[in-house]
């Protein structure tokens, strides 16, 4: 299992989603992406993107003025 970080600070939606999505292309089922964002919109958009692609949200929380979202790549990724 690989876990990578995506720094999406100062990016406004939908750019954080795009950064996570583009990173996910290289990843395998079970791998994890930890995204750090400053746009609160990412708290809705990244989970919505995960739902349509069958990925899972492992963690979603506010840390001071930032938002941390951990995504687990779904089993049917690449299908």
């Amino acid at each position: 299992m690989t876990r990578v970080k995506v720094d999406a600070r100062r990016l406004l939606c939908p750019l954080p989603v795009i950064r996570v999505q583009d990173r996910a292309v290289e990843m395998d089922p079970g791998d994890e992406i930890e995204a750090i964002c400053t746009d609160p919109g990412a708290m809705q958009d990244i989970p919505a993107w995960c739902r349509v692609h069958g990925h899972q949200i492992l963690e979603k929380r506010k840390v001071e003025n930032e938002y941390l979202i951990v995504v687990r790549i779904g089993d049917h990724h690449r299908e």
Partner: protein, 330 residues
Amino acid sequence: MLAARVILEQGIHVEGINFFTGFCVEGHTHAIRKRDRGRPKRNNSLWTAEQLGIKLHIVDIIEEYKEVLLNPRHGYGANLNPCLDCKIFMVKKAVEWIRNHEFDFIITGEVIGQRPMSQRKDTMPVVAHESGAEDLLLRPLCAKNLPMTKPEREGWVDRERLYDFSGRTRKPQMALAHSFGIEEYAQPAGGCCFLTDEQYSAKLADLWRHLGEKRYEFDDIMLLKVGRHIRPAANYKLIIAREEGEVNFLQGYRKEYPSLKTLSHTGPLALIDGDPSEEQIGQAAAIIARFSKGKMEQRVEVEITSPNGEARILSVKPLSPRELEKEWML
């Protein structure tokens, strides 16, 4: 949304593509402006994909889009919206995408006569041809009014189960949406793109005029979405936050632009874009003071901070409403 649903009904696998030009309204504006926070914060394309149960791919075309907007071969619409070139470009990108991902054809939700520039009967073939999509581009909502495309000829889709909508009325679409059980059918007419907005286009035109050429960076077009823009002289303009959300957003740019803030009275944060003289900095401070709680006072203290963090304080007399020229307001 409807076009995708029509094709899904025929048992065909559909995935969505959403292109992000940098001028899209949703998301950003909601994130920035507090007064918009009551509105749904969702990303409309993701929401639509979820309703349809399809995947959605969001493609960043910010850089490539510059050429489309700066030199549109077919010109602009009512404002700085290069709709026809934009459509051609997006379909062209979709052609690349389907080739790379082994998909067979492209659908779009266009309806003949729905929009004045890009959805006329004579521009439909222009989009198909200039994008290189040719007969791989199917418009399920008005296909019956258009020549047969490959997916129809090959029997991949049943032409009989496509539609013949035309004109500006959305009633048939609403009825079809209703028959599919789609209650919330949001398809704004250009309302999702800042380039169709008159005020935004005026600010973009002003930017180009003062740069002396048509060009932009991503930060430029983001800042045009925020605040009150005032240009007292050709060599500089002020971007003044109108509310707390905009203050927070502009804070993020204080390392790139000199900023102004009233100290003696509550007032907004402002950025200076350009290269004002010392005298003009005094003028900028007087303008900011005008937008502060001290606007009726004799003197207001304004702090000017340069991008490297060096700050100094000026004491100025706020500009009177008469002195704040109408033509300065963008």
